[in-house]
Structure formats: C-alpha cells, structure tokens
C-alpha cells in the first residue's frame, strides 16, 4: 500500500515538474518588439491595400439597378441596361420591415417545418402571437407563426422591351434548406416554395429586408420592363418596397461600396499606425544619440578638470539592459 502511495507521489512530482517547470522553460517568446510590430503593420497595409483595390474595381464594374415601386400608380416600371449582365438575380427589398423583431423572428416552429408536425404545446409556445391552426403540414394547412403568415406575396415578371419575356428561375435560397431543413409537405407543389424558404430565414440587420425573387441569368443591353403585382402592405408602417436587378459573382457574391470603403479605412489605419511607430522609434533613437553626445561632452569637460582621478562608471543592471 505504502509503496503504491510512494509511487503515486513520485509520478505526481514528476508530472508537476514536467508541466510547471520544464513546460515553462521551453517556450517561444513571440515578442512584439517595436521594429517587428512596425514591420508587420507595413506588410499588412500592403496586403489590405491590394485587396481594397481589387474590391473597389470589382464593385465599380458590377451592374445593379434598384427601383422603388410601392409609390407608383402604374403596374410596371422600366430598367435600362447600358451594359450586359452576367449571372443576374432579381431581388426585392423591404425597408423598415423588421424581420428580426423578437416577436416576429421567434414566431416559428422549426420542428414543424422540418418534420411536418410538432406537438400542440410546442406550437403554442413557438407561435404565441398567432392562432395555431393545425399541427401537421398539408396542402390545406399552413405552418404556424408570424413569419409565414406575413410572408411577402408580390409577384414580378421581366420582359425585354420589344422582345420576349425573360424566364425567371424560382430556384433561390439555400440548397440545404430546400433539400433538408424544410419538409416536403411544406408548400408542396407551390411554385413559390423556394422563395418562401428564403423568406423564412429572417434577415438580421435592421429594417432592411433583402430577399431573392428569381435567378435571371445573363441579360443583353437594352430596356426591360418589370411588371409587378403590389399587394404586400407597407404603408401602415411607412415602409418601402424596391425591386433590384443585380449581378452576383461566382465566388465573392455581391457587395456594396461598404466593404471596399471599410477595407480602405483599415489599410489607412495600418498605414497611420506604422508611421506613428516608426516615427517614435526614430525620435527615440535621435533623443538617445543627442543625450549620449551631450553626456560625452560634459564628461570630457569634467574629465579635463581632474584627469588624475580614475574613471569609475557604475552601471546598474537596469541601465545596462536598456
């Protein structure tokens, strides 16, 4: 027994020694000395500057047309393309519509949407602000909750002026949503099903709700008519509705001017910071040199007075390591 205890103590002692002393003694010291910090910032500045340029050019070349239509009395509007569009999408945008309002965003049962049904109790919890009609999704039964009940129901068609109607591919939204997250019973057979899956993913930043309507593909130059059926009410909360035609990149997607501007600002911050650091380094060096020169001068003068005295310069450890 005591042997076991002794052995255990030996092992503990050995482990602790390994862990607390040797581990600490074998270290790498990632010291951000001023020069390393200054150099890193310079390099980062260069990298970000290149990225910024790329982003700005890319954004500058992107064709995008955005038009408000809720205040129009007509049922169509015209969009003129001065350049041809590659891989365009048709979007709609609601302003001052808070999809991420707690009351709205929580009013949904993912269990019901995923498996086709949910228990009555869960549904009542999840959809407090609407009546729960039924538990199991079917042709006649809609999912519970505000998100579904207040879904966007305007429709759009796109026609080339003096040409044919452009085919709108409604396969939008996440592939994983279409295939796995939403049950097959959800809006079975509805041509708008994919748009709805996209609507059910609430947007997260303020009252701006941007959603895809359809995939348009490549478009030639020329004028296009967007015909709309405006039924979704926004006047009561003084919201706006817009329709947007925009190119989407294969890899990067699409972004506004915000990203390149921010990137440029970050590059600027790096430049300013590295300049500050370098100038402080130079200033410190200059001050040190000047002080040294002055001291030498003084010492020489003092030394001339009493040459016979032995020079004893005590350097404290503190000074020697400065």
């Amino acid at each position: 027994m005591s042997e076991l205890v002794e052995k255990a103590q030996k092992i503990t002692s050995w482990t602790t020694h390994k862990l607390f002393n040797e581990a600490q003694n074998r270290y790498f010291q990632p010291v951000l000395t001023p020069i390393i910090a200054g150099s890193c910032m310079c390099l980062s500045f260069l990298a970000l500057a290149i990225i910024t340029a790329f982003l700005a050019i890319s954004q500058n070349n992107r064709v995008a047309i955005s038009k408000r239509y809720d205040d129009l009395s007509a049922t169509s509007l015209t969009m003129s393309l001065t350049k041809e569009m590659k891989n365009a999408y048709l979007f709609y945008e609601l302003e001052d519509f808070y999809q991420n309002h707690k009351r709205f965003a929580d009013s949904i049962s993912w269990e019901q949407l995923n498996t086709g049904s949910d228990s009555q109790g869960n549904l009542e919890d999840a959809c407090t602000y609407t009546k729960v009609v039924c538990r199991t999704l079917s042709d006649t039964c809609d999912p519970c909750g505000l998100v579904y009940r207040a879904h966007f129901n305007d429709t759009f068609t796109l026609t080339k002026v003096g040409g044919s109607t452009v085919t709108l591919d409604p396969t939008v939204g996440w592939k994983t949503d279409r295939d796995n997250k939403f049950d097959d019973a959800f809006e079975k057979g509805d041509p708008d099903r994919d748009r709805l899956t996209s609507w059910m993913r609430v947007s997260g930043l303020g009252g701006k709700t941007l959603k895809p309507y359809a995939k348009v593909g490549d478009l030639d130059k020329g004028d296009y008519t967007v015909a709309f059926n405006s039924v979704f009410p926004v006047n009561s909360f003084s919201g706006q509705k817009r329709v947007i035609l925009m190119e989407v990149g294969d890899v990067v997607g699409a972004f506004g001017w915000g990203l390149p501007l921010l990137s440029g600002a970050a590059a600027g911050l790096l430049l300013v910071s590295s300049l500050v650091i370098w100038s402080v380094i130079v200033a410190k060096l200059a001050v040190t040199l000047v002080l040294k020169a002055i001291n030498k001068n003084k010492a020489a003068k003092a030394g001339a007075g009493r040459e016979e005295e032995e020079e004893t310069t005590y350097q404290s450890p503190l000074v020697s390591h400065m």
């Binding site: 607390f20 581990a23 600490q24 003694n25 074998r26 270290y27 790498f28 990632p30 010291v31 951000l32 001023p34 910090a37 200054g38 970000l48 999408y89 991420n100 309002h101 709205f104 993912w110 269990e111 995923n114 919890d125 407090t128 602000y129 505000l146 009940r149 207040a150 939008v172 996440w174 592939k175 796995n180 997250k181 993913r201 947007s203 997260g204 303020g206 941007l210 895809p212 009561s236 909360f237 003084s238 989407v248 990149g249 294969d250 997607g253 972004f255 915000g258 990203l259 921010l262 970050a266 911050l269 790096l270 910071s273 500050v276 650091i277 402080v280 380094i281 410190k284 450890p317 400065m322």
Partner: protein, 1091 residues
C-alpha cells in the same frame, strides 16, 4: 477578563458514577462541517447567500419565463449548475477527508474501567468519569487526569506533543498526589470526585481538585469534619481535596512515551477537550486585489443597469408608438397594462446578464490552487538540510505575496539559526573567554578555578546545572558526563546545561523530589555527585522573563537559584553591599559589550532563604495553589516575594548565528522596495547588532531611538526623532527607528504618540523593536496595517503567532521550537532565505497572472453582454438576441474557460530575472497591473471591440449577397459575430501571453478550435437548429473572412500601436528584459532563458 464560560457552573465529576457518565457528552469527535442530511441544504444556502450566485440564480429563474427570455434558459442554468457543483464537490471532498480522520479517531479501541469492570471500547464511547488505561505510544482520546503511572515510585509519566505543536521533546507529567501510590487493583475500582472548571480553551492551565472516596473501614484516613469544603459536604466520606494542575493532565492528541502505562480519569470529552475548544476557524483574509475586484464588479453592474434603462426607454417608446402600426407583428393581443413596462426591461436585463462572468470565481480559485501547487512543488525552496519545503496553506492570498511593502520579522530562529553556542561568561566581575572569537569553554583560567574549587565559579555553574527544564535521556554515566544525553525544548537552556557540563558541573538527572549534579572537574577525579532536594520550581513565562528553583542543598540550607533577563534579575538584587555594587558596575559593562557584539545574555543569581521564611512562604504558596479563583495572580505575587534580595553570581553570553542567506535576502528585498521591521524580545544592543549584520541597516545609518517612561516623554522623544530623521535624510544617510517594548507600551496608549510613531515608522528605512512582548508584536503590525500598506509577518515561535495572524500575510518557519508558528501561518517554510523566491518569483508572477485572469474574465463578459444588448439597435429594440443559445452556453464553459487557466504558466520575464532585478518587484508592489485604471482600460477595450464588431457587421452585412444569390440572413450574421468574437479572444490571449509554451499554445488553440468543431458538428447534424448548413456556406465565402480580418484589424491595430509606442517612450524594466532576451535569442546568443 471574563470569559463566557465563567458563568457556567464548575464541573463535579464523580468517578465511576452512572449519573456523571450520562450527564456529560460522550467522547465523539466531530470536525465535519456537514452531516449527511444537511450537506445539500446547508451547502446550497452558503453558496447562494453570496451575491454573485444569488444574482445568477435570480437570472436563471427569470429565464424560465418564456415571454421574456431572449435565449434558452440552459444558457444560465448550465453554467450555474456547473459552478455550483464544482464548489459543492470541493466542499464535499474536504468534509469527507475530515469525516474519515474523525472516524479513525472515534473507532480506535481503548481500555477503560467502569465500576471496576475492564472493558475495551471504541474512543467515541468513552465518557467523563471513566478510568482510562493508556499504554505506551498510545494517543490520549480525551483530556484525562493521571491518577497513577507505571512509575510507582514517583508517579511520573512522559508525553510528547508532536501531534499538536511538533515539539518532539518529552514533557513530564505527574500522577495526582493522593493516588499514585495505590495498587493497580485499587485504581481500577477507584472512586472519588474531581471538581474542575467547565471546558475552556486555555491549554496550559487546569485548576481542579481531587477528593478520594474513603472506605468506611479505614478510619485513619477519615478527614476531620472541619476541613471539609463545600463540594464534599454532600458526600461525607471524602478525603480533603488535593489540587490538580496542568501537570497532572494528559491532553487529547498527545501520546505517552517512555512510560509503561498510566491510569487517567477522563474529565473533558469529544469537542469539549482543550484541543477541541481551541479549534477555531482561522480569521479569513482577503487579498488586496479583492477590494478592487469588488468595486469594479459593482461598476460593471451599474453600467449594465444604465444600458438596460436607456434601452428600455427606447424599447417602450417603440412598443407603444411604432409597433401598433407594424401589422406583421400582430400587436392586437390583449395584455394587462403593466405587462410591457415590466417585460421589456427584464428582457434587456436578461440579455446583459453575461456582463458578470459567472465562472470567474471558480476560475480564480482553480488558478490559486495551481499557484499553491507550484509553490509546494518548488524544488528551489526546499531546505536541503531539513527537507522541508514551502507550503502554501492559505491559497486564497497568494497574489498578496507580490504586493508586500512592510515585512515584520522575528529575530531569534527567524533571522538567526536558533542554534545557541555558549561563548562568554562573567563571574563575580571577572570575564572569561576574552577576545572576539574566543569561547569561555576553552578558557584555561576558568578551568583552573573550577579545579581549585572557587566558590563563586562553582555556584555559578551549579545554577546553570540545576535551574532549568532540561531532561536526561536514559544513558550510561559516561555519556551523561560528556553532555550527550540532554534533551531540551529551549536551545538556550540546552547550551547552558551543556556548557556547565563541559566546565565540570554535569546535570545527571532529576525526579519528582530531587535533582542531582556531578562535579567532575579534572580528568582524573571521580565525579562527586551532589543531590539536592527539589522544593519548588518557579517556572519561566514571557511575562516573568526569569526562572527559579528552590532547593535544599546537601547541607540542609534552603537556596533559591535564578536565571533570567538582565533588567529583571538586576532589579531584584540586594542593595545593601558595597562590594556587590562594585561587581555590579563591572558586570554592567560586560553586559553592554556582549550586547554590542550581538550575544544573548542571561543573568545568574542566587539567594539563601532562612528556613522559617521558607516554611511560611511554602504554606502560603500551597494554599494559593489550591485556589480555584485567582490562583495565578496569587502565585505570581508569592513568587515575586521570594525572588528578592538576590546575590549576583554572573552573566552568560550565548551566540546565535545568522541563518544562511539572510543578509543577501534582506538586502535584495530592501532594494525591491520592501521595508523591514525587526521585532524581538532580546535587548536593544543585541537587536541592533543583528540588524547590522543582516544588512537591515547600514553602518552609517542614523539609529534613532525613541524612549520615555510616560506618554509626554514619549511624545517629545518622537518629536526629537522626527528632527533627527530629517537631518539624517539631508545627510543622505539611512534612518533606522528603534523602540523598546516598555516605550512602545506608552506609544500604544496615546493617540498622538501612535500617529507620530506610525508616520515616522513608515518613513524610516527599517525599524528595530526590541524587548517586545508577543502581544506588542501584533500591536505594531495592527498599527501599521491600518494605514493600508501591505504587511507580511514572519516568525518561528509560539510568541509570533499573534503577529502572523494579524498581518495580511503570515509566514511561519519550521523552527527548532516546534511547528506552532508554521501551523498558524498562511505559508510555512524551512528558512528565511526562501522569502526572496516566495515574494519576488511566486508572489510577483501570481499577482500578474491573477490580474490578467480577473480583468480578462470581465472583458470577455462585457464584450458579450454589451454586444447582445447593442444588437437591439438593429432589431427594433425588441429584446432579440444575436447570439445563439448554444454559443452563449459554451462561450464561458468551453470556448473561453481554459485559456485563463493556462495563463498561470505565463512569465512576463524569463524565470531568472525576478530573482536578479529587485526593481521588477516594484511593478507588482505598486499594483500597476491591477488598479482602477487598468480595469477602466480593459472595460473600455471591451466596449470598443463591441463597437467595432457591430459596426463592421452592419456595414458589410447590409449589402452582403452570397454567391448563390442569397443575401445573408441572421444566422450568417450571428456566425460571423461569434467567429470574429472568438478570433478577437484568440488574438487577445496570444498577444497578452508573454511566453508561448507547448501547453499554453495547445490550450488556446484547442479552445478556439472547439468553436469550429462544434459549429461543424451542428452544421451537418441538426436540421432544426439555427446552425444547420451555416458553416459550409461561410467557410467558402470570401466576404466572411474579409469581415473577420477587418474586425480584428480595427480592434487590435490601435491597441498594439499604442502599446508599442508606450514601450518605446516609457519602457518598463520587464519590457526591456523581455526585448533584450528575445533579441539575444534571435541572433543566436545565449539568452536568459529558464533555469
């Protein structure tokens, strides 16, 4: 002084009586805090009466209300249950360990006699009034009065208190006088009555009486009616009471040694024993940083409520004015008018609860355990001679070691070895052993005088050989005469008895009634044994500061032999003789010169007592000894009476060498900005000499002595001292303040003097307090501690305990006088020199590490709490949560739980530096890394980071369309948020760690990786959860990575730029050392790495 128990009735224990057994509690020892049934309620109650736990319990309960909770209740319940159970398990483990040791003590078997019947029962069944038979090596289960010992002649028994105070020497105990001659059979069926005070905690005192029951057949022993006292009146056949004292007592926990067996009557049982009554929870000490932590946490709490209030105002406005127009929110449900005004603020409050880090107390406790572990395991702090290392007993205050400003140190045994070497004597005005290095033991003149039988010299040596408490081990005569068989508690006494033996007067042994010495001067003479009848021992106490024995010499003359402190004994000499006063003058000069060379002196004197005077005194003394009330005061007065009119014999001087490394340690710590106070019972000259030799003061220092015999004198002396101090400072000299115990008594009494003394003491380079009583040591510490400076007290003896417990940090040395100080202290160690490493290495590192850990914990909580509430600017002030419930739960429990812990392995400078650059210590001493300013900076950093995250997310996110034409939804924003938040944590941890080693790097990276692993897992497996399908989209999205790069850049570039600029303009020593080391390392030179 009136103790609470003095109101209780005295105990009357009738031996062998059933009523007595039933009346008093059994000998069940219970040191556990909980019972099996009370553990859960009591522990929960204790935990939830603490503010932070109660706060989170309320939060967790509120979260059960689904209408207001922004997130799943598990986000709070999970961590709360985790924290609660960690604390509970720790408590349970502690209590189980106590229960186990109790169980072992309670179930030990003992032999007792009840009504003449021998029984073997377990310890817990023993009751008051039982007669216990204790064998050699057995531990006493309860407090007993010895009524008979196996030593039938003298009734002596020996015990050791090694289990209690670590003293390994044997202590003599006596069986009660009237019974020790009885036969074993008579003892086993013995009946009688013991009267004693109720249980109390005064260990060295027992005032009791024993009356034996007398068999009616034996009229010779029957007492006369008149002598019966009140207690005996109820039972008429009792003998007159005999006094029982502490020397008749065997205390619980002590063991019997060198004695076959003893019979004892159990008087106190279980937790009512002296030992049990002394068990107290030691005064709890809080660290200096705790105050800053509490105030800052309160400030964070206040900030939280400001946020909640302002968001609630906007939220309510929106609820009433804007929301009714938002048809899609279906706001027509009927709610009571009070509902919204309550629900909205509560929602915001719940969002912000994460501002207070729930696991921070647990984290900090774990870190402290790690520090303690490192201290206990440090091989560089092990005294190679004794094998004892440093042990951190109070892990809670380890950080304080890095902040010490004033060290209060004992002298004997702490700065010095406490190995006494006999050096000089002055006998009857003649000095022996002249010269600095010479020893009186080698002085030929002295040896000749002993051989010649010079009466003064012989009597001097006789006093050394007779007046002491040293024991002789059983050994043959030659060993005894060589002085190799002595065992003593006090190193001084050992040195004296040993020296007397070397000089020709050997103490050969003593028993209850006699004590003997052997005169063996000269090699050829046969030893001549002198046997003295031992009449009385007037023992040494720290108040009396002297010890005397009264003996009857072989010629029949009653003599009193005294040794004691110079001032006390010199004050008790007879004054009527001219020759005496001449000798006294010479002796005084000798005393002064001994003091000036740092020797410890004792004065030896004796007196012949007329037989009649002694007879009268003896009678008074005996009657005083049987008194139950005021016994000590009476006895002290009587001792004063007999110890007068002494004749001076001479003076002894003993050298106590400095411990290894003491001057270096003190010099280094003084350079590190620590002030030293030396508190000693020795006299001023000795103290000054030691202060010089251990570099507590320079040779050129101004030694400013404060003296006075009343308040006014002391005050004016202090005023003069202040002037002297100024002059010393003008002259560029060190200033040392000195005070003696009697003067300090007056300082303590007057407020003006106290303030002046304190002001001067705080300014001076060192302070030397000599002739201090134990309580005065604690008074000095208290006086200085009250000004708010950080104090550390270090000592080795029982007289330092009060000082050790008073100071912020108490350090006990495992000295030659036992382990009492080490047991009472927060840290115990094997030598003074380890203080350097304990403070500058462990203390400083621990302080810096904890400072980072605490402030980082709050930073990481503020960033998440404020982030959650700020998101509502973009969510219509509706109380929505940006973060997903899973991430909220795991943030504290998994993602960021371990990185603070491994910060305990960080070293801001290479391991050799703290012990070489004393200036480094000043950084932690001045609380540079954990102050209100640093807290403010950390919280400001958190708020700035929240701003950066939300701003970048808003700017990037509002036009962010992914490559399949899907604009980002809330889950992508949340994902970007948590990843960028955790990346910031990673950057914070990596840039704030000064050294990366395998463990820290692994833990930090794994913690970061756990986020990715969890998200990858959720992305694939749970279609109903928010995270489903998210990571696979973001991982390939360049905009996602861009957002994170931008957030990290904006968040950290200004901080690093500012930090770097500060390091260039105003570099700290630690920065310089680190840079130099890194440069040396990178160019391939040998760097200052670890050991």
């Amino acid at each position: 002084m009136r103790f609470p128990w003095t109101k209780e009735r005295d105990r009357e224990i009738s031996i062998g009586s059933k009523a007595t057994r039933r009346h008093f509690p059994k000998n069940q020892i219970r040191n556990t805090k909980y019972r099996w049934w009370s553990f859960i309620p009591k522990n929960l109650f204790e935990q939830y009466t603490r503010f932070s736990n109660a706060y989170f319990l309320i939060v967790a309960c509120l979260q059960l209300w689904s209408a207001i909770t922004p997130v799943n209740p598990i986000t709070t319940w999970g961590p709360l249950i985790f924290v609660t159970s960690v604390t509970a398990v720790k408590e349970l483990a502690d209590d189980l360990r106590r229960w186990w040791s109790d169980y072992r003590a309670n179930s030990r078997k003992y032999v007792v006699y009840r009504d003449g019947q021998q029984r073997s029962i377990s310890s817990s069944k023993i009751s008051v009034g039982d007669i216990l038979k204790l064998h050699e090596e057995e531990e006493a289960p309860a407090d007993c009065i010895i009524i008979k010992s196996s030593d039938t002649e003298n009734g002596t028994a020996f015990i050791t208190t090694a289990n209690l105070d670590g003293e390994t020497d044997l202590k003599e105990r006596m069986a009660a006088k009237p019974t020790y001659t009885l036969t074993d059979a008579a003892i086993e069926s013995f009946r009688g009555v013991i009267t004693c005070p109720p249980p109390n905690d005064i260990v060295w005192r027992f005032d009791g009486q024993l009356s034996c029951e007398i068999a009616p057949k034996d009229p010779a022993l029957a007492p006369p009616e008149a002598e019966m006292d009140s207690h005996a009146e109820q039972t008429p056949n009792l003998s007159p009471p005999t006094p029982l004292m502490a020397e008749n007592m065997v205390l619980q926990g002590t063991s019997l040694k060198n004695t076959g067996h003893v019979y004892g009557v159990v008087v106190f049982t279980g937790n009512q024993t002296k030992l049990g009554m002394n068990k107290r929870v030691p005064p709890s000490k809080a660290t200096k940083a705790d105050k800053v932590i509490n105030c800052s946490a309160a400030a964070v709490f206040a900030m939280q409520w400001m946020f909640v209030a302002s968001y609630s105002v906007v939220g309510l406005w929106r609820e009433y004015r804007v929301m009714p127009d938002e048809w899609y929110l279906n706001f027509n449900t009927d709610q009571a008018p009070w509902y919204e005004p309550i629900v909205i603020p509560l929602r915001f409050f719940l969002l912000m609860t994460y501002c207070i880090p729930i696991s921070f107390k647990v984290t900090l406790d774990l870190c402290k355990t790690i520090y303690a572990f490192m201290i206990n395991m440090d091989r560089d702090m092990v005294n190679q001679k004794t094998g004892s290392g440093v042990s951190a007993k109070n892990t809670g205050i380890i950080e304080d070691l890095g902040q010490i400003q004033h060290v209060f140190t004992d002298k004997t045994g702490t700065l010095t070895e406490n190995v006494m070497v006999f050096k000089k004597v002055s006998i009857n005005g003649t000095q022996y052993g002249e010269g600095v290095a010479a020893s009186a033991l080698d002085d030929r003149t002295l040896a000749e005088k002993v051989s010649a039988g010079d009466p003064h010299v012989l009597w001097f040596l006789r006093v050394l050989g007779l007046c002491h408490t040293v024991d002789v081990d059983e050994a043959d005569k030659a060993t005894i005469l060589r002085g190799e068989a002595y065992k003593a508690t006090s190193p001084d006494e050992f040195a004296l008895v040993h020296a007397a033996c070397r000089m020709g007067v050997a103490f050969v042994g003593s028993d209850r009634l006699t004590t003997s010495i052997a005169l063996h001067a000269g090699n050829n003479t046969t030893p001549k044994v002198e046997k003295y009848e031992l009449l009385e021992v007037l023992e040494f106490t720290s108040d009396r500061r002297r010890m005397s024995v009264i003996l009857r010499d072989p010629a029949g003359q009653v003599i009193l032999l005294t040794k004691g402190a110079d001032d006390i004994v010199l004050g008790r000499l007879s004054r009527n003789d001219e020759k005496t006063s001449r000798i006294r003058g010479v002796t005084d000069r000798h005393l002064a010169s001994y003091g000036n060379t740092g020797l410890r002196t004792l004065t030896i004197a004796m007196r012949n007592i007329p037989a009649e005077e002694f007879a009268q005194w003896r009678k008074d003394y005996d009657s005083a000894s049987t008194q139950l009330v005021g016994r000590d005061r009476l006895r002290n007065e009587l001792m004063d009476m007999i110890e007068t009119d002494l004749t001076l014999l001479g003076v002894t001087a003993i050298e106590d060498q400095l411990q290894e490394g003491v001057p270096d340690t003190i010099a280094f710590l003084r350079q590190a900005g620590i002030r030293f106070w030396m508190l000693t019972g020795d006299k001023l000259e000795t103290a000054r000499q030691i202060a010089l030799s251990c570099k507590l003061m320079a040779e050129t220092a101004a030694f400013i002595l404060v003296a006075g015999t009343n308040e006014d004198e002391v005050v004016s002396s202090l005023e003069k001292a202040a002037v002297t101090y100024d002059r010393a400072r003008e002259g560029g000299r060190e200033a040392i303040l000195a005070v003696t115990g009697p003067t300090f008594k007056h300082v303590e009494e007057s407020k003006t003097a106290r303030v002046a003394f304190r002001r001067l003491g705080l300014k001076c380079d060192s302070v030397v307090c000599s002739r201090m009583a134990p309580t005065q040591k604690a008074q000095v510490v208290r006086l200085i501690k009250r000004t708010g400076v950080m104090t550390l007290a270090i000592g080795d003896g029982g007289n330092d305990i009060s000082m050790i417990q008073e100071a912020h940090v108490g350090v006990g040395l495992e000295g030659r006088e036992g382990l009492q100080a080490a047991r009472a202290a927060d840290f115990s160690m094997g030598g003074f020199r380890f203080l350097k490493r304990l403070l500058t290495f462990h203390g400083r590192y621990s302080y810096l590490r904890s400072a980072w850990i605490v402030q980082y914990s709050f930073y990481k909580s503020v960033i998440i709490g404020v982030g959650q509430i700020s998101y509502n600017i973009l969510a219509a002030f509706s109380g929505a949560s940006l973060m997903m419930s899973n991430d909220l739960t795991l943030y504290n429990l998994a993602y960021t739980f371990l990185p603070p812990l491994v910060y305990t392995l960080d070293r801001d400078v290479p391991a050799l530096c703290p012990m070489e650059y004393p200036e480094l210590y000043k950084q932690s001493q001045k609380s540079k890394d954990h102050s209100y300013l640093t807290w403010f900076l950390w919280i400001a950093r958190g708020l700035y980071h929240v701003f950066v995250i939300e701003a970048v997310l808003y700017v990037v996110g509002s036009a962010w369309v992914q490559s399949d034409g899907s604009p980002v939804d809330k889950s992508i924003i949340a994902e970007t948020h948590i990843v960028s938040l955790m990346t910031l944590q990673l950057v914070t941890q990596l840039t704030d760690l000064h050294t990366w080693n395998l463990v820290t790097l692994l833990v930090v990276l794994l913690s970061y990786g756990s986020l990715w692993a969890f998200h990858a897992f959720m992305c694939v497996l749970f279609p109903t959860k928010d995270l489903y399908g998210v990571l696979r989209r973001t991982f390939v999205d360049p905009q996602f990575w861009m957002a994170i790069v931008l957030i990290v850049t904006f968040a950290y570039v200004p901080i690093i730029a500012f930090r770097t600029a500060r390091q260039i303009v105003r570099p700290r020593l630690s920065d310089t050392l680190r840079f130099n080391n890194a440069v040396a390392w990178s160019v391939g030179r040998k760097s200052i790495r670890g050991m």
